[in-house]
């Protein structure tokens, strides 16, 4: 399977995250799965004219293109010209290249939230008029249009995440290469369901604090980050706390809030990222699928039932009270 990878309106961080894939060497894994990198901007030998020849070959069909990976948002500005990113050496807007290549590819993959939905590049006044390959925020469309289907029949596969996880990329690419990814394996935002059907909340090490609404007040506190610190782990579609990042990490394990970076529009939450928006003391963003009245009732009950151990540890940066050791007395 030939794989071409291009970068546009993003930071390159999804590639760097990908290079952090653990276990066997990434390159050996690709070879073993018969995934051949035609060209990747950070990794391949070919430069300049040699690289353009490969890209142009894929675009005109003379070189078979099985998987097109695009990292970074599509920059449409200024005024729809795409001149905020001309692919160097070519004089042509990157968006024209992506359009031409997508028309030839068997599969098109948006690597990361920028390529999928616009992401951080589309934040604020969206200076670059950035959008995703097949979404503009959460609205279907983007560069290729809502009806686009790649040669293999799938819409753009959105490996959303900011950055995305190396395993999400690898497991998606391998599934595509084996013909094992079908439309039903993608969710409403065309994310692979193997990770997007999970919640960041699953496996969160702060779960006991969450159960009792024992909350952190400031960075480095051990308590739950949902009530005060803006955490959206109970609503965010990803398996970060069961899969883990760079060995043993996740945002929650790093001591900071989940900002729901796999969702379209996460870059403009409508409130400061590290503060939980509330009405009458109730967080606006409730856990997925949880009725509001039950949340309020359970929160009130659990707060009144909070063990002193949990309450005190929540607002400290190290363990103040250990769980009681029960002795059988034999």
């Amino acid at each position: 399977m030939n794989l071409l990878w291009l970068q546009s309106g993003g930071c390159g961080g999804c590639t760097l995250s990908w290079l952090g894939a653990e276990g066997e060497s990434l390159f050996m894994m690709l070879a073993d799965e018969n995934l051949e990198l035609i060209w990747h901007p950070s990794l391949s030998e070919e430069s300049a004219g040699e690289a353009l020849k490969l890209i142009a070959g894929c675009a005109d069909g003379s070189l078979p293109l099985d998987i097109l990976c695009v990292e970074g948002a599509v920059l449409r500005g200024p005024n729809g010209s795409g001149r905020f990113h001309l692919l160097s050496g070519s004089g042509q807007p990157m968006l024209s290249w992506v359009r031409a290549l997508a028309a030839r590819a068997r599969h098109v993959v948006a690597v990361g939230t920028c390529a999928a939905y616009g992401g951080v590049t589309a934040a604020g006044v969206n200076p670059g008029d950035a959008c995703g390959l097949q979404f503009d925020g959460d609205v279907p469309g983007g560069l290729l249009g809502a009806d686009f289907r790649a040669g293999g029949g799938l819409p753009v596969v959105n490996i959303a995440g900011c950055p995305t996880h190396p395993d999400w990329i690898n497991e998606t690419l391998i599934s595509l290469a084996r013909g094992a990814l079908v439309r039903e394996d993608l969710d409403d935002f065309c994310r692979p369901r193997f990770y997007a059907d999970q919640l960041v909340h699953h496996g969160c090490p702060r779960n006991e604090f969450y159960e009792f609404k024992a909350s952190a007040d400031k960075p480095s506190d051990q308590g739950c980050l949902m009530e005060q610190m803006g955490c959206k782990g109970t609503q965010a579609h990803a398996d970060c706390n069961t899969r883990l990042w760079n060995g043993s990490g996740s945002c929650l394990r790093g001591g900071y809030a989940c900002i729901r970076c796999t969702d379209p529009g996460f870059e403009e939450p409508g409130h400061p990222f590290a503060e939980t928006p509330k009405i009458a003391g109730i967080p606006l963003g409730l856990p997925s699928d949880m009725p509001k009245a039950w949340f309020i009732a359970l929160a009130a009950l659990s707060k009144s039932a909070t063990p002193a151990r949990v309450r005190e540890n929540a607002k400290a940066d190290h363990l103040l009270r250990a769980p009681t050791v029960k002795k059988a007395g034999r």
Binding site: E22, S44, F84, G89, G124, N126, P219, W245, G254, A257
Partner: protein, 482 residues
């Protein structure tokens, strides 16, 4: 005179295009274009100040922690707070880990594969270099990637993930390491040390860091077989290709200084132009005469600068601004940092041949050897039970400046807060310095100067010498324009 247009320039971070005027087999003039604009400085305007911590790391996936560190410092300055000792140590560890991982990635994945190109077939070292450093397929990449991934476990432990952590806060770190985790951290550092000593250097890090002159480096080379280690391989190739005479840079070097300790900084700040000058960040201006931006009457200090794209501006050829120190072009990066920090071998290399492809690469590797032992010491100094983070309030009106050293050199953030929101946020990244276009006086930027004189072989469309020079700077194009 003919004009060569070289791009896309790969194995650099982001997209890059270089135009070369070539005559008589040499580059006569170079024009460096950073071809992508996203507009982070515009995006940040009007945001809540603390939200900068979400946005700025996403300027760059390879300098993400450095961007966070600069923002945290600018915010801390505006808030009038200072991280406690644990917070300072954690920040040092994170920035050092990123710097080292970047140097390592540059060497193995970006820079060395050029010596495995078919054009070098016939050189005595070629069969070994091809087997070892070939892009993607070489044995070195197969070993270096897992070693790098294992080293980045330190990021998982200290920062939750990399890139794009929120663990670095104005008040310190959100991730309080406990006693057993300190041990895990230390073991991760020792594991990486083993790879560096056995594979990259073939010597103790302390012995590499102690190399104190060109003569000492020559003795080190002579005492080893050409394939004794990857550093030795590089030095052999560099000697054969005379890389010390390639990509001669200017005479001035800037470093903001790095890794604060109780007294000062492990690497001090300064400007070197043959002697050490005190660095006053007030002497920095950004010239936009040849960049696609609306222009003020005179170049502005970043604290007063603006970013207003103007795509049809006459005479402009890049999205990169042209920062100048005291009106002068300066080079930044590991070489500048080690020159300012008076590392004897790097100073001696500068005396011998100035900034060039060899000295830039050696400085990076020397820095790896110097910094990893320091990281081991910082890990030991973490004190569980003591605070990692202090709280603070952002005033409704405030200014802040964040000056840090990313892997690629001097990175500055300038923040102003009005009515509780970001009024202005200006960023000058390392490659903005190195890959700047010409200024109003027509003075070319650091890379543009370094490319002049590079040999261009008959029929070479993307001259290899030019590629070595460009990659010797380890450019980060996504930071450059942001």
């Amino acid at each position: 005179m003919k004009r060569l247009l070289v791009g896309p320039f790969n194995r650099v971070e982001g997209d890059l295009e270089v135009s070369l005027d070539v005559a008589d087999g040499h580059v006569r003039a170079a024009y460096v274009n950073s071809p992508m604009y996203r507009g982070f400085e515009q995006i940040l305007q009007g945001k809540m100040p603390a939200d900068a911590l979400v946005f700025v790391p996403r300027i760059c996936g390879i300098c993400s922690v450095a961007q966070s560190a600069a923002a945290a410092q600018a915010l801390a300055g505006a808030m009038g707070i200072k991280p406690p000792a644990n917070g300072r140590l954690a920040a040092n560890l994170l920035l050092a880990a990123e710097n080292l991982a970047d140097h390592f990635t540059h060497f193995y994945l970006f820079f060395m594969p050029d010596f495995a190109r078919a054009a070098y077939r016939g050189r005595s070292w070629f069969p070994d270099a091809e087997q070892r450093f070939r892009a993607v397929a070489g044995t070195a990449a197969g070993e270096a990637l897992p070693a790098r991934a294992a080293f980045m476990r330190l990021m998982g432990l200290l920062a939750g993930k990399w890139p794009h952590t929120l663990a670095l806060q104005p008040g310190g770190s959100s991730r309080p390491l406990q006693a057993s985790e300190k041990i895990r951290l230390y073991r991760q550092l020792r594991e990486f040390r083993r790879f560096l000593e056995e594979t990259l250097f073939g010597d103790r890090l302390e012995a590499i860091a102690a190399l104190d002159s060109v003569a000492a480096l020559d003795r080190w080379i002579v005492a080893r077989e050409p394939d004794a280690s990857d550093f030795r391989r590089f030095l052999g190739i560099a000697h054969d290709l005379d890389l010390a005479r390639l990509g001669r840079g200017g005479e001035r070097f800037i470093s903001y200084g790095s890794f604060p300790d109780e007294q000062g900084r492990m690497f001090p700040a300064g400007v070197w132009d043959g002697s050490l000058k005190i660095l006053d960040s007030g002497d920095i201006r950004e010239d936009v005469s040849h960049a696609w931006y609306a222009q003020a009457e005179v170049p502005q200090h970043p604290a007063h600068g603006a970013t207003v794209p103007l795509v049809d501006k006459a005479g402009a050829y890049s999205w990169c601004k042209a920062p100048r120190w005291d009106g002068c072009v300066v080079e930044t990066g590991a070489l500048a940092r080690q020159v300012v920090a008076a590392q004897p071998l790097v100073r001696d290399l500068l005396v011998a041949g100035g900034a060039n492809v060899l000295s830039r690469v050696v400085a990076r590797l020397i820095e790896i050897a110097r910094v990893l032992p320091a990281m081991e010491a910082w890990a030991e100094q973490l004190t569980p039970g003591e605070p990692y983070c202090v709280a603070g309030e952002m005033p409704r009106e405030a200014e802040g400046e964040g000056l840090v050293e990313a892997a690629r050199g001097a990175l500055g953030h300038w923040l102003s807060v009005r009515r509780g929101r970001i009024h202005s946020y200006q960023i000058v990244a390392p490659t903005t310095w190195n890959f700047s276009p010409r200024d109003a006086q027509g003075t070319p930027g650091a890379l543009e100067q370094a490319l002049v004189g590079a040999p261009v072989g008959e029929g070479e469309e993307a001259p290899l010498a030019v590629q070595h020079i460009v990659r010797s700077f380890d450019p980060c194009m996504v930071c450059t324009v942001h």
